[in-house]
């Protein structure tokens, strides 16, 4: 039967009227700024899994006050300029209630002052200390450790657990390597340690034999490398192994990277290498995760891939989403001041990745005691084993 124009109009109206009557509630949008492609995308991809798992869970439970919870993702490709543009667009056009990310410090250094100007609630896991300053950036909160907390954990492990008396500290010539090495030397010396060797090595140096020889000659009992350059870290470990020098390496999380593993001449060269990790995402001596983390991993099973990423990335992103939702639910508001004000009252908020505490004066929310050392060659399902010496 041919469809008449009048019948079509009536049908359209009939279909339209109920829709007007059941207008979908406006979603609550949160911005998510990260590198999902490009050279520095591995953390972003891991965090992204946690973000989407949390959003799906929140919406499956009815959303936030009956409104859908929506994440607006912007891929920065690791480029600070793109991160700035993405943040501006999220604030001015997408009208997000908060921003999660960026997740690398180079991008965060560019976006933090800009996001602070709009007083947009911002939460990120970047380590550079200066990114958090409640006076300059009252809107910015960190749910992962600052570099100073990493250093404290490394220092504690070297001096109190390994009981090393002579320390070698080495970094690469990047901005991060230079700063971290300088600060680490000063902090070790302040703690009364004998820093027998400290130096910087070009990140692309092809042979580090002479550098390792100098460390060895200095009598160092432990080496603390501050570098994210996997090639340099692997070269240092290869020379250490080839020379049969059996001192522990204690330092940056990149020491446990699969990229380092690939470049090692022998698997044995990865022994006695300890990287910065987190108690919540570490296996104990019995190979078990903490109960809260295990419950989370059980929820992830079959939904989120863990074998090629870090559990802490997933759990921190999950916690970030929960912190935004918690603030809106508890205050009944999506206003910036309400969310920031609520976060400032959190005391040991039980997330999966950690228990977060924020005050108006302190926006570094992660507990230093939960930063621990992990065994580099123990990676399994996104987590590492606790280094020897912890209980």
């Amino acid at each position: 039967m041919p469809l008449k124009r009048r019948a079509l109009l009536a049908a359209s109206l009939g279909a339209a009227v109920p829709v007007v009557g059941r207008a979908a509630p406006e979603p609550i949008r949160v911005g998510w700024v990260t590198a999902l492609t490009g050279a520095s995308s591995a953390p972003g991809i891991g965090f992204d899994r946690g973000v989407h798992f949390a959003v799906d869970e929140i919406n499956a439970a009815g959303g936030v006050h009956g409104r859908p919870f929506e994440v607006v993702t912007r891929d920065t490709q690791g480029d600070p300029t793109k991160a700035v543009n993405a943040s501006v667009e999220l604030i001015s056009r997408q009208k997000v209630v908060a921003i999660w990310g960026p997740v690398n410090s180079g991008e965060a250094l560019a976006t933090t002052p800009l996001v602070a100007r709009s007083r947009m609630p911002s939460i990120h896991p970047c380590v550079i200390d200066s990114l958090i300053d409640p006076k300059k950036y009252p809107n910015a909160f960190r749910l992962a450790p600052a570099n100073v907390q990493w250093e404290a954990a490394v220092r504690h492990y070297c001096l109190d657990i390994v009981k090393a008396k002579k320390i070698a500290i080495v970094g690469d010539t990047t901005g991060y390597g230079t700063t971290a090495t300088r600060d680490s030397v000063a902090d070790f010396q302040k703690a009364g340690a004998n820093v027998v060797y400290h130096d910087l090595i070009e990140a692309t140096k092809t042979d580090v034999t002479s550098d390792v020889l100098r460390m060895q000659d200095s009598g160092a009992e432990v080496v603390v490398p501050w570098s994210v350059t996997t090639g340099l870290l692997a070269r240092l470990l290869n020379v250490r192994g080839a020379r049969g020098w059996n001192v522990p390496f204690v330092g940056h999380p990149a020491l446990g990277s699969g990229e380092v593993k690939k470049l090692l001449e022998k698997p044995a060269y990865w022994e006695k290498v300890y990287l910065i990790g987190y108690r919540s995402c570490s296996y104990d001596a019995n190979g078990k995760l903490p109960a809260r983390t295990q419950a989370f991993v059980d929820k992830l099973r079959g939904k989120v891939e863990l074998v090629d990423t870090s559990l802490w990335w997933i759990s921190a992103a999950y916690d970030a989403m929960r912190l935004v939702v918690e603030a809106i639910e508890k205050t009944g508001s999506t206003e910036h001041e309400a969310i920031i004000g609520y976060w400032n009252t959190l005391k040991a908020y039980p997330g999966v990745y950690g228990n977060y505490t924020f005050t108006p004066q302190e926006h570094n929310g992660y507990p230093t005691d939960d930063v621990v050392m992990s065994v580099a060659n123990s990676f399994r399902d996104g987590a590492y084993a606790l280094a020897p010496g912890y209980t």
Binding site: A39, T173, E202, S210, L213, G231, A234, A242, R243, E259
Partner: protein, 285 residues
């Protein structure tokens, strides 16, 4: 300790020397200092890791494939970046054309291969610690290359044709020598030598897209030290550079190695602008 520094210095020095010879071979046939020399070294490592490490091709055919691929890149360099600017050598347009082509090669490898250093396969099944292949293989490769080049240039007709082109390309062409084909062949040979630098030095350099600029940089020092076009000078200059770097790194600091290297380099150029083993160019009038 001394043995470790010497082994390490000779190995890195041999890699620089091979890149220096790559510059020389390309320069001799074209009067062009091609900035693709370091990228050929980078490609030698990447092709080697790809053919032997990833595709599992046995070492000998993998080596031949690697060197063949680098020879091809050498020929393409001649066609794309050198030949079009030969008519205006005095304007030094080759600086731009070869640099642009070098950057294209690097970006292509970054996209298609990886931006992280990748492992280079073990080529010989023996040796450990300081007799590891990463120390002696580059030195052996440099010795083989210099011996083969010396024999070629002194004992073979084609080698003499290369020398004729290098000496005076107009006169050589007037004598009926196929200048273009000889130039392409010399770029192919340069490709092989550059590729061999990265391949033999793969244990040290790893298969890393960003090795090119570093090799171009340090590979130029032996050329300037030894005198442009002087392969024996490049070998001596390269080995001296490697030893100096490792000794300075051990005695002073790794951080000041580049500064020390280029300070010495500048002083040497001021004292002997034609290089330690080069002679001032004479022109028959």
């Amino acid at each position: 300790m001394l043995y470790a520094i010497i082994a390490s210095g000779l190995a890195t020095g041999a890699i620089y020397a091979l890149i220096g010879i790559t510059y020389n071979v390309m320069f001799s046939a074209s009067r062009v200092m091609s900035f693709t020399a370091g990228q050929l070294g980078m490609l030698g490592g990447v092709f080697g890791a790809w053919f032997i490490g990833r595709l599992g091709i046995p070492v000998l055919p993998g080596t031949l494939l690697t060197l063949g691929a680098c020879a091809l890149v050498g020929v393409v360099t001649e066609i794309v970046a050198v030949r079009p600017v030969l008519k205006s050598l005095d304007q030094h347009l080759y600086v731009l054309s070869t640099l642009a082509f070098a950057l294209m090669l690097q970006q292509f490898v970054a996209i298609e291969w990886s931006t992280e250093p990748q492992p280079f396969p073990r080529l010989v099944p023996f040796g450990d610690a300081l007799v590891n292949q990463r120390f002696w293989l580059p030195v052996l490769a440099a010795l083989v290359v210099i011996v083969v080049l010396e024999i070629m240039y002194r004992r073979t007709l084609i080698g003499r044709a290369f020398l004729a082109i290098a000496e005076d390309s107009f006169a050589a062409r007037a004598l009926g020598l196929p200048e273009r084909r000889l130039r392409m062949l010399s770029f192919a040979i340069a490709g092989v030598i550059g590729g061999l630098a990265g391949f033999a030095g793969g244990g040290l350099l790893l298969a890393f897209f960003a090795n090119g600029p570093m090799l171009s940089f340090y590979g130029f020092v032996p050329v300037a030290l030894g005198g442009i076009g002087n392969n024996r000078g490049a070998i001596i200059g390269g080995l001296a550079l490697g030893l100096f770097q490792q000794a300075a790194s051990y005695m002073v600091s790794g951080l000041f190695v580049s500064v020390a290297t280029f300070a010495v380099f500048i002083i040497m150029l001021l004292v002997a602008p034609q290089g330690l083993f080069g002679a001032p160019a004479g022109r028959r009038v």
